[in-house]
């Protein structure tokens, strides 16, 4: 199981992008989401972020995502990018 060594961010505060911040926590995966499309995709995005973190083999991660209607591939790329930056 991988762990973060520090907080890190990836992405931009732009339309169709998501600004992702990851922070180390004791255990588990927490997601804090704000989104332009919360009512239509909020549940999906939270689950998708959690699954992405798990799939990357991390635990003890809090993800803060400020979403401006990014598509899934962008969300995945930003989450993985932030995890990578927070691992070094």
């Amino acid at each position: 199981m991988k762990h973060l060594v520090k907080a890190a961010t990836a992405g931009f505060d732009e339309k169709n992008d998501v600004l992702v911040t990851v922070e180390p926590i004791a255990a588990g995966i927490e997601v804090e989401l704000t989104s332009k499309v919360m009512r239509q995709y909020g549940e999906h995005i939270k689950e998708f972020i959690t699954a992405t973190v798990k799939e990357a083999g991390f635990d003890g991660v809090k993800v803060i995502a400020a979403d401006k209607a990014a598509w899934d591939y962008t969300i995945k790329a930003r989450v993985l990018g932030a995890l990578e930056r927070g691992s070094k």
Partner: protein
């Protein structure tokens, strides 16, 4: 009760007593008569010009519980409604119905007058921004839900007395002391006065408010025979908010792709030919379609018939280049078009009745094709242009359903996905135009022809255009962004915030408070 558009209408609502549900575009017969106003005899030596808005309010006999009307030709640059409402508020007159042909973001001051009981009912075509959000999320703040009407539907309702106007307060850019008025000249020139013409004619009392009082006006849009009082004020509107400079053709590649596809469809359908008539919405894609239509007309060396405005510089360019023979104009969108209305005899002003009133001989019935935008559509081809993806009132019914019902071919241009949201839904949030009026939906990734237009489907069976079923188009969007969850709205009767009239006055939908 389910109506013909498949919407469940709570007919038990007190505000719907005596109303019909929507039964089809031309289903309802009518034996209505046109309404009449009280006769006003003018005596020799009488002066219609009064010193102030206060005096006009007093002389017009405005009282608690009455209906007052305004027009939206000044769009987001309107000062008139505020000037009038401040004086009404000062006088302590309460319980008024605002019957405006539309409402713009600049009218958000109405929120305060709603809260203090000055305004207790609203009937309009459009609602946006702060006011739209306030009314969507505060049911019961008015004594009855907002009435949403199309431009033609409003002209009909006013003409037949269904929507009675006690006093019309109409801003006019140039006016003479007897009340002959035009929008073609003056500091606040707005072009056509199509909506004001109807109100001036049918209101019990008509007050004109101008910032350019001159000796004589001709040609006039409103005649002195319809006018009771004239008030001169400092300024009736902000020219920058009234008309933009020439509205440019979009540079957005998605919009351009949609326009190109739409124009190609039109060409292959053999619609672009000698004498054909059309209307274009003012959105980015429809204006780009105009450019393509112009090119096709040139290539084919034929001349179109008339174009209907919402006139813009793009349409005026086609008239001046001899590509079309006339423009019929009920409201003018930019300064180029306003100048054209003044200078070009083939740029013809018309009232909202002549434009789109279903209970008269309206121009929309003569359209070969109309291009319209949409905030969203559904698999039954219904169109919403009134509420956003969260169920908040943020658009306008406008001439959407009027032109769609009249035109031989109705083309809806709409992006397949906005941000992350698919724009082809199972059911639109609010039906403004029923799917039976819609013939083709064009997106950037392809187009769908309404199955009830088998003639068109047959015609395009060997076409090289990317033609899909509406369900296939919808799936294309879902494959990319996933299927969205439905936005929940309250099902309580007391949470109905607006009722949507179809153009014939029947109820096509209601807007319910979204659960946020």
């Amino acid at each position: 009760m389910l109506n013909k558009a498949g919407r469940d209408i709570p007919m038990n609502l007190p505000c719907l007593e005596g109303r019909e549900v929507y039964q089809g575009e031309f289903a309802l017969a009518t034996n209505a008569r046109r309404a009449g106003r009280p006769v006003r005899a003018t005596r020799p030596g009488e002066n219609k010009v009064v010193a102030s808005i206060d005096e006009a309010i007093e002389k017009a006999g405005l009282k608690d519980g009455m209906s007052i009307s305004f027009h939206h030709h000044f769009r987001n640059g309107d000062y008139v409604m505020k000037l009038v409402m401040e004086r009404i508020h000062e006088k302590g007159i309460k319980d008024l119905t605002i019957l405006s042909s539309s409402l713009a973001p600049c009218h958000e001051f109405l929120i305060d007058y709603i809260k203090d009981g000055t305004v207790t009912a609203i009937e309009t075509s459009g609602l946006r921004d702060a006011l739209g959000k306030f009314l969507s999320t505060n049911p019961g703040v008015l004594k009855r839900p907002v009435v949403i009407r199309s431009h033609g539907g409003r002209a009909r309702a006013v003409s037949c007395g269904e929507a009675h106007i006690d006093v019309a307060f109409l801003g006019v850019p140039t006016c003479d002391p007897r009340g002959n008025a035009t929008g073609m000249m003056g500091k606040a020139a707005c072009g056509a006065l199509g909506y004001a013409m109807v109100d001036a004619h049918f209101a019990d009392k008509t007050v004109l408010i101008t910032d350019n009082l001159v000796d004589y006006v001709y040609p006039y849009s409103i005649p002195q025979t319809d006018v009771d009082y004239v008030v001169e004020v400092e300024a009736i509107g902000d020219p920058a908010g009234i008309a933009s400079g020439a509205i440019g053709i979009t540079k957005n590649p998605v919009q351009l792709k949609i326009a190109e596809l739409a124009a190609e469809f039109l060409d292959q359908a053999d619609i672009i030919k000698e004498g054909f008539s059309f209307q274009l919405g003012a959105g980015g894609a429809p204006l780009a379609v105009a450019k393509f239509i112009g090119q096709k007309l040139k290539e084919k060396e034929v001349v179109g018939g008339f174009g209907v405005g919402g006139a813009t510089g793009v349409l005026v360019g086609m008239l001046e280049d001899g590509l079309i023979k006339a423009i019929y104009d009920t409201q003018t969108f930019d300064t180029t078009a306003a100048a054209s209305l003044h200078d070009n005899p083939n740029h013809i002003e018309m009232s909202a009745s002549m434009y789109a009133d279903p209970w008269t001989d309206c121009m929309t019935n003569y359209l070969d094709v109309v291009f319209l935008g949409a905030t969203e559509v559904d698999v039954n081809f219904n169109v919403n242009c009134m509420t956003d993806s969260n169920g908040i009132l943020m658009g306008a019914s406008g001439g959407h359903s009027d032109t769609a019902a009249g035109a031989k071919v109705t083309v809806i241009t709409c992006p397949l996905i906005r941000g992350r949201l698919p724009m082809i839904r199972e059911n639109v949030q609010t039906v403004i135009t029923p799917g039976t009026s819609v013939d083709v939906i064009v997106t950037e990734r392809g187009l769908a022809i309404n199955p009830n237009r088998q003639d068109l489907i047959e015609k395009f069976k060997d076409s090289n255009l990317p033609i899909y079923t509406i369900e296939e188009l919808q799936k294309m969007a879902y494959d990319r962004v996933g299927k969205p969850q439905d936005v929940e709205v309250s099902d309580k009767d007391e949470d109905v915030v607006a009722i949507v009239e179809y153009r014939d006055g029947s109820i096509i939908d209601v807007v319910r408070k979204p659960l946020l």
